[in-house]
């Protein structure tokens, strides 16, 4: 029921919303929970396991019962009504009830409760085993559970972002505000984060005075002052969810869920990574319920929540409210109810032994002589004492410390490096203690950071002591609930101890206490107390379970923000990209690069037709391919030759200027890292080419060699991969194409493996007479700005000569025909010996990996050596990844003699060709082996050959 006055709501701004299809009205400033209570909606959900009717228990983010599904672009389940701000048109649905909240057929689970206690699943659903996944699990999942995902993909926008500060203040209550004021005034970069919509913490919910005026006035002043400081950043609706190494904190900002119509491109949520030199945890404390029989009836609430609804939202959570608890909290609750004009039934300081009511509280039972007496009330405010919110201090492995005087755990000292607790989360519960604690901790941190802070004038505030004799649970007839969200009772915890699960971690898993999305914020300490009692230990002896991030649940979409669709990985585009796509070339990914697979011609139905045509085109006329993806590393300096001699197995210091040489590079463990050509551009300048796949790896390796292995060498390396667009022009008519685009150029001046500067239609470029196809081949390079233009020009000129562009598929077939290798062959487990290049490891000098490559077992007849393969039986197909066996051997793993690494159909030779590795393969040329592809179900007899199928003398390439 809405009170006639009071509260931080805007009564001039009514908002319509619906719950389970029924329309209601609330006000701006309401949460969904306060608006429901204002409309006398007490039954808001059904419990997880027993489908018990449940009502709102809290007024903040640790709410276990009021979890709802909110209608959004994609429905969001398990939203806590206590933190969901009301907006015009909000639609909420209850969860876990069928057919309706008021009449839930699965409520029959509650009648079966004697059979459904802790450990029930483990004992009951063991047999027969085959039923577990097919019968029991689907049944249990249907019966138990909370909201369900819509299963529609969430296309909403989420952000991830970074923030940096000197001091992160976590929590904007009195301690946090005071700390932020002290640090902000001293000039520190401060971030003040609070999960609520406005700053103030408990002060928003209490009737208190600060400096002789309403506490809210002080909150407003403090907020205004902080807002005016340029070095202070206020982040409301932002929950700090985790503490991590190096002063890094995770935080979730709710950006749009409180808006009826969010701004166009604004994200739904932003997940922040805040890096702070220091942090103050001012997270406050959570009031705890008391476990008494049937304490879960809608209408039973935390006393702090009752006060929050009355004071902050102007809502009476009941018509006649009773209070159960001791000391200041009970008195304060009674006082606030009276002040708001709500009828106070009675304050019970001893025991409540039961409750009655259908779908909501109608009566509580208290002891009366030998029996019990009923008290009529529709709301019971329970004050069971406070638990400091120590959660974040436990995120890096620390355990909290028990304090007998508070009957609660407080943070251990130094629990998270750089983070200091202050205020209620440090066990200082009065407002005055929070204000002074926040100021003191901030002052110490500022000093630590080398900033001077004047001694702050501390505002005057309430400084009542906190004394507590905790009531953990009340014996009586009926179940006493500890964990509302997971339906765990006092009896379950006792049973766990009886059955031998006496360790707190075992109890947690046996009963599921504390394993729901609230992580047991309402129940952990009480459950520990019950377990301690049942096992005859103290609470500190019993210990605690572990709090882990996140403090409150985070949408996975927020953690994955930015990785959707094109955000998943960068795309590297060639300068010829648009031209290739325009020709209909399907692009395939090579690392991050996109390369044309083939260029379909009119009438071609399959990629094979295009590939065969392109291969033939290169062999008979001329082809053009963009090879800019290969790594290009410029190496300069007096020691450049010496440097290359050390990273390559063969010698480059002797290479003449204007010449190119093929080189092989080993890893430090002696296996092949990469291969490619390196050109000598000048006396002290080389240009190394790497494979596309290993460009980054080789660059990192060269950096490592230069800095760590040859620190004295005077050599500089720089990647120029991106600067040059480079195209292979290959085929018998390659010279003619080049002559048409190069100024003053004649092929006769450019012998095989030569290189040098050329003028490309007036543009300074480079030319390399190298070939990866086995034909007369050139690679021509121009600055990338001219790449697209040159590609189009080369293709046009080639087409005039019966040639054209060729893609990756044809490139692959051409090199297989020629016996050249790629990273399919040098896949990381092969040595120079294996690929037949053992003699390229120079005996005259040392190089990276040489010594390790000489280890026993890395060469010799036992090694699987590279061979060529040709079909030799009725099956004409070869497949990559197939294994090789002796002709008569069974195709088992133990009999495997090797494997196939690359295959392709050669239109030149009219059959499939393959490359592979075969034990002692070089000695077995001419032998017939059996190829078996267990995955694709292909089996073929193959002839073992030399890997060079085409033009083994190399006449075409050199000619």
């Amino acid at each position: 029921m809405r009170l006639s006055q009071g509260g931080l709501i805007d009564r001039a701004k009514p908002l319509r919303f619906s719950f389970d299809g029924k329309g209601y009205q609330g006000f701006a400033g309401d949460t969904l929970a306060s608006a429901l209570l204002a409309n006398d909606v007490r039954l808001v959900g059904r419990s997880f396991k027993y489908h018990r009717p449940r009502g709102i228990l809290t007024a903040d983010s640790n709410e276990p019962n009021a979890l709802m599904t909110i209608r959004r672009a994609v429905d969001e389940p398990n939203v806590r009504a206590t933190t969901q701000e009301l907006y015009e048109g909000l639609e909420a649905r209850s969860q876990n009830a069928w057919p309706a909240l008021g009449f839930d057929l699965l409520g029959m689970n509650d009648l079966l409760a004697p059979f459904l206690g802790a450990g029930f699943y483990y004992k009951t659903f063991m047999w027969p085993k085959s039923f577990w996944e097919r019968v029991y699990e689907p049944f249990i999942r249907r019966a138990a559970g909370l909201g369900a995902l819509s299963k529609a993909p969430d296309r909403g926008r989420y952000d991830k972002a970074f923030a940096h500060c000197d001091l992160l203040v976590i929590g904007g209550g009195p301690a946090g505000l005071m700390a932020a004021l002290v640090a902000g005034r001293a000039g520190a970069d401060v971030i003040l984060a609070d999960e609520d919509t406005r700053l103030g913490g408990r002060l928003l919910a209490e009737r208190e005075e600060i400096d002789g005026g309403p506490a809210l006035d002080w909150v407003e002043e403090a907020t205004a002052e902080l807002r005016a400081l340029p070095n202070v950043r206020l982040m409301t609706r932002t929950t700090v969810t985790g503490a991590y190494d190096g002063g890094t904190y995770g935080a979730l900002e709710r950006v749009s869920q409180h808006l009826a119509s969010p701004a166009g491109h604004a994200p739904i949520e932003t997940f922040w990574r805040i890096v702070a030199r220091r942090a103050i945890l001012a997270a406050g404390a959570h009031e705890r319920p008391i476990a008494f029989p049937n304490n879960d009836r809608p209408g039973v609430m935390l006393a702090s929540a009752v006060r929050a609804y009355v004071n902050r939202w102007g809502v009476a959570p009941g018509k006649r409210v009773a209070v159960f608890g001791q000391g200041a909290d009970a008195e304060r609750t009674a006082r606030d109810l009276r002040a708001a004009g709500v009828e106070l039934a009675e304050v019970i300081t001893d025991r409540v032994t039961g409750t009655n009511g259908r779908l909501g509280l109608e009566e509580i039972l208290v002891p009366d002589g030998d029996g019990a007496r009923g008290i009529n009330c529709d709301c019971l405010a329970v004050a069971g004492g406070w638990n400091p919110a120590v959660h974040l201090t436990c995120h890096m492995g620390a355990r909290p410390v028990w304090r007998d005087d508070l009957a609660a755990f407080v943070p251990a000292e130094g629990a998270v490096p750089g983070l200091t607790p202050a205020g209620a989360c440090a066990g200082a519960f009065s407002t005055a203690a929070c204000l002074s604690g926040g100021a003191r901790v901030a002052g110490a941190i500022l000093e630590d950071l080398g900033l001077s802070a004047p001694k702050p004038d501390l505002p005057e505030a309430e400084d009542g002591g906190y004394t507590i004799t905790p009531i953990w649970h009340v014996e009586g007839k009926g179940r006493a609930w500890l964990d509302f969200q997971n339906d765990v009772t006092v009896k379950d915890v006792k049973q766990s101890a009886t059955e031998g699960f006496r360790s707190v971690e075992h109890m947690k898993r046996y009963t599921t206490q504390g394993m729901a999305t609230d992580q047991g914020k309402n129940s952990n300490v009480a459950a520990l107390a019950v377990l301690a009692d049942a096992t005859g230990r103290t609470i500190p002896e019993t210990g605690t379970t572990t709090f882990r991030p996140p403090y409150t649940p985070i949408n996975i979409a927020a953690l994955g923000a930015g990785a959707l669709d094109k955000g998943f990985a960068p795309e590297r585009h060639l300068t010829s990209h648009a031209a290739s796509v325009a020709r209909g070339a399907p692009m395939i990914e090579a690392g991050l690069w996109y390369r044309p697979s083939y260029f379909p011609a009119p009438g071609e139905q399959t990629w094979r037709e295009a590939c065969d045509r392109e291969v033939t085109m290169v062999r008979q006329a001329v082809g053009v391919a963009d090879v800019s993806t290969l790594g290009k590393i410029d190496i300069q300096g007096p020691d450049a030759g010496k440097f290359l001699d050390f990273v390559y197995t063969n010698t480059f210091s002797t290479l003449k200027e204007g010449r190119v040489r093929y080189g092989l590079m080993l890893r430090e463990d002696g296996h092949v890292m990469d291969d490619g050509t390196t050109a000598r551009l000048g006396a002290q300048q080389y240009l190394m080419t790497t494979t596309t796949a290993a460009a980054g790896q080789v660059m990192a390796h060269l950096d490592w060699v230069r800095q760590a292995l040859m620190p004295g060498a005077d050599v500089q390396i720089a990647s120029v991969t991106e600067h040059w667009a480079q195209f292979a022009v290959a085929g018998p008519k390659a010279g003619a194409v080049l002559a048409s685009v190069l100024d003053d150029w004649a092929p006769g001046d450019w012998p095989f493996m030569s290189c040098g500067a050329v003028s490309v239609s007036g543009v300074a470029g480079r030319l390399f007479r190298i070939s990866f196809s086995g034909e007369q081949g050139y690679e021509i390079a121009v600055p990338a700005r001219f790449g697209e233009s040159l590609f189009r020009l080369l293709v046009a000129q080639a087409e005039a000569l019966g040639g054209g562009p060729y893609g990756m598929e044809a490139l692959n077939v051409l090199r297989i025909e020629k016996g050249f290798i790629t990273h399919a062959e040098i896949h990381g487990r092969v040595t120079a010996f294996d690929i037949g290049m053992g003699r390229m490891v120079s005996a005259k000098k040392d190089c990276v990996g040489k010594t390790m490559s000489e280890r026993p077992g890395l060469s010799g007849p036992e090694r699987e050596q590279m061979v060529g393969l040709k079909p030799a039986g009725s099956v004409k197909q070869l497949t990559g990844g197939a294994h090789l066996f002796e002709a008569g051997a069974r195709a088992t793993a133990a009999n495997s003699q090797g494997y196939v690494t690359s295959v392709g159909f050669s239109p030149t030779l009219g059959c499939f060709l393959g490359q592979g590795f075969l034990r002692n393969g070089r000695a077995r040329h001419g032998e017939t082996v059996r190829m078996v592809d267990h995955v694709r179900g292909v089996e073929a007899m193959c002839e073992v050959c030399d890997p060079v199928f085409y033009d083994p003398e190399g006449g075409r390439m050199r000619g």
Partner: protein, 181 residues
Amino acid sequence: MAKLIAKSPGAGLLPVRVGSLSLTEEAHDAITCVAPFQGQEKPVSAALKDAIGAALPGVGRVTGKAGARVAWLGLGQVLVLGPPVAPPGAAVTDQSDGWACLTLEGPGSRAVLARLTPLDLRENLFKRGHAARSLLGHMTCLFLRTGVERYEMLVFRSMAATAVHELTHAMQSVAAQRSGA
């Protein structure tokens, strides 16, 4: 004979304007990587100073002004953003076409970058004349602070489309949040 046609890395992608934020392409005369050989830092610095009025910067710094800047790039390497240079005593490589140079400008530009890079770009820490290598989304990037609310970013040319996509996305988000709630 045909003339080759030049295209900039941002051709067809830029400029992008979202609210008061703009993303534009920066055109430098040349981008030259200069890496002094051993013991040559001083003469190389003097030669650069002579040639374009900007000396070798320290780690994480930029010297010179618009049109002739020298930006720290990494261990013993700088990028000269300006006229082509070839100081003796250094490994010099022309990288004019290797980089997409993007300038983000306008109120909220720091908030845009906060969505894409872990760098601490706070006003008093990443000042004008500062340079840093870090990530822009998943891409390596050289960041330069070139104005109060102005940052230049150099990413691989081949990744220009992705960089523009990521930055536009972040610009839209920031603009919406600044105009909205």
